[in-house]
Subunit: 218 residues, 4 copies
């Protein structure tokens, strides 16, 4: 199978993880993947329901967001995805959701403090807030890149909007979106009845370092 | 397939979306569709569980709510649906639910403020509160129409009761019901730990205008 | 099919509704049905998981809770169910759950106020609190009967414990359990951000009267 | 079937219960079982998704956590599981999750008070908090053992981290993990609107004693 066919299949299938973890309703979230070595990306079509997504219906775009191959319009968030790929060459996947708890923090323009070991593992720091930005130009993409450049966190809470996550590939970005909602929810619920205790910075550092270098199958 | 057969099938199938997004329990919500060009509508039978709904069990009523074709009584909310179709000729679908978070706002007689871009997209404003009204005459239908006439929002929180949504067709009204619960939940959760920041009116206007005219497949 | 076979099948199947609406975890809830015209009831076996329930595994007991037919011990709540059937001849079904939101009210020994039209329809009043009672004798059964006798509500919040519901048959009692958790959740969430507005007693009365006499298929 | 084959199958299957009750996301929780009469245990492979778990992919380790049989690395929590089996010979199963509500209590380093009869039944006391401990040496295992030794509760909230549960076998430990999240959620929600009333110690004792000795099938 060609790289493109494999990526189409992978991006289509990863949308089912957004549904499984209830990060999206109706047609509101999207996943994309960079085509390695090309100035191209694969992304969800706009306004199509998750049940109807197939590898063939995924859209191939260039990194300015123009359609190269596909029968539908690409996701209305295509410009933001494309901006990230242009600005951050190490990024191979981007995910966008309005997942409930993360969006609740975003609506207050408030970062999620790093108070859980699982959060230190995956995010290595607080999950930061990006600027309030309107759709229609490069504002959202620029806000994502400015917030995440030089930050350990692969997730940003875009103020008044929702979550964008990045990863070395689309699967890693989806994992970050799932973990972001999970810690957004746990920390929110913890704070409803008091203050979660902070984790010392040196412990956050050790957890992050170990998880990034040791965890999982080699 | 005739228009009537297609509508029966569509209305039956759309009830499964209410179940999927957990907007209803037992037999408590309902979807209807106007029969285009006729003074008729298709609506759920009363007190029948969602698993047992079939295209054939849907009820055909006139716009006074009288049964034209069907073996069961129509939904006990039929009078409200019918009133909306009589008063708002642009409406092709109506949905009613007691979805949890929207109903929680409705129980306080409190509108949901427009603090998320997704809410500006779909609702273009706060989601307003309609009057407390008893079932049995035109009070509910009149309350819906008075609240939504001239309002951008396709959803109204009926005080102490639940949600009614409208759309150009039944699918659009179901989408509004799904999005209404989604933003009711996100804004509620955000407010549990502080105040979500408002979106400037001009930004709400730009988001609403773009979404209504650009989003999705043409 | 004999009445007994039909009841075994019905009681087994109704447990799936407790699972579907997430009213139970592991093996913690139970449904029973009176055998009409006999001093007998059908009830869930104790400590058996919901996936493994079959019509044949249901237990037939007399109304003192002694096993008449069945290979397992009956539910550890059998004495409470039996007490209700002995004391309330109009009751044909009983359900017990620890559903989350209802149990949260029960842990505070606090009744759920009637602030939603759906609650007025089904419960006709607040959902009352019964006494704190230990398992092992008739205390729980007596608490249920004393609280629900002469009360419109088919549900009681047993203090520090969970919910018992009654109905003309097992299906009606399951419906009451589903609706009880639904309104417990909606009213709880509403009160998190303020006070839901009460419904006037005369409106509660009119809603209750109409729903009990008109709703559903005749 | 050999004991080892049976245990591999059982441990693989029990992970599906963590998924069913939404105690885990992505690959974050794990179940293990002691091999009776041997210094061996069966545990989940690291970083493998729940859908892909098979009896064959489970890892056989000694009680120092070294792999005896298996193609993957064992769970990154293997050292903690192994420590528990070495120190507590009566334990036959261990479970670890970051389930949401339990983790919310853990983030505040706060025990869950025993205010529900179901909690008295299963836990016999508050669910206690263990120390904040970093992964990488015996700190977590030691914290679990010190907290649970001589305590009725089969669950410990590890501060800033998540839940560990123990049981006579893996199924009992999974049940404890399911019940722990259930009571963590109910008690949390109850406390959002006031204070749940405590259960007298003598009543906790009687409930615990009865449940441990009478409940379920003999």
């Amino acid at each position: 199978m060609s790289t493109l066919s494999r990526l189409r299949r992978e991006v289509a299938a990863l949308h089912a993880e957004l549904v499984r973890y209830q990060l999206v309703v109706w047609t509101a979230g999207n996943v994309s993947a960079r085509v390695p070595g090309e100035d191209l990306m694969i992304i969800k079509p706009s306004g199509v329901s998750y049940d109807e997504l197939t590898p063939e219906s995924m859209i191939l775009c260039d990194l300015d967001g123009a359609v190269v191959e596909g029968d539908h319009s690409p996701s209305s968030d295509t410009a933001a995805h494309a901006y990230v790929y242009r600005a951050m060459p190490e990024v191979g996947g981007v995910v966008h959701t309005h997942s409930t708890y993360a969006t609740a923090w975003a609506a207050r323009h408030e970062a999620i403090p790093c108070v859980l070991t699982a959060m230190a593992d995956e995010f290595g720091a607080e999950i930061p807030v990006g600027p309030f930005a309107l759709i229609g130009d490069d504002s959202i993409g620029r806000g994502i890149v400015q917030t995440l450049s030089g930050h350990r966190s692969p997730a940003v809470l875009m103020a008044g909007h929702g979550v964008f996550t990045i990863g070395k590939d689309a699967r890693a970005a989806v994992k970050a979106a799932v973990m972001c909602e999970d810690v957004a929810r746990s920390v929110h619920i913890s704070r409803q009845l008091g203050e979660p205790r902070p984790i010392a910075q040196q412990d956050v550092d050790r957890l992050y370092d170990r998880y990034q270098n040791v965890y999982g199958q080699r």
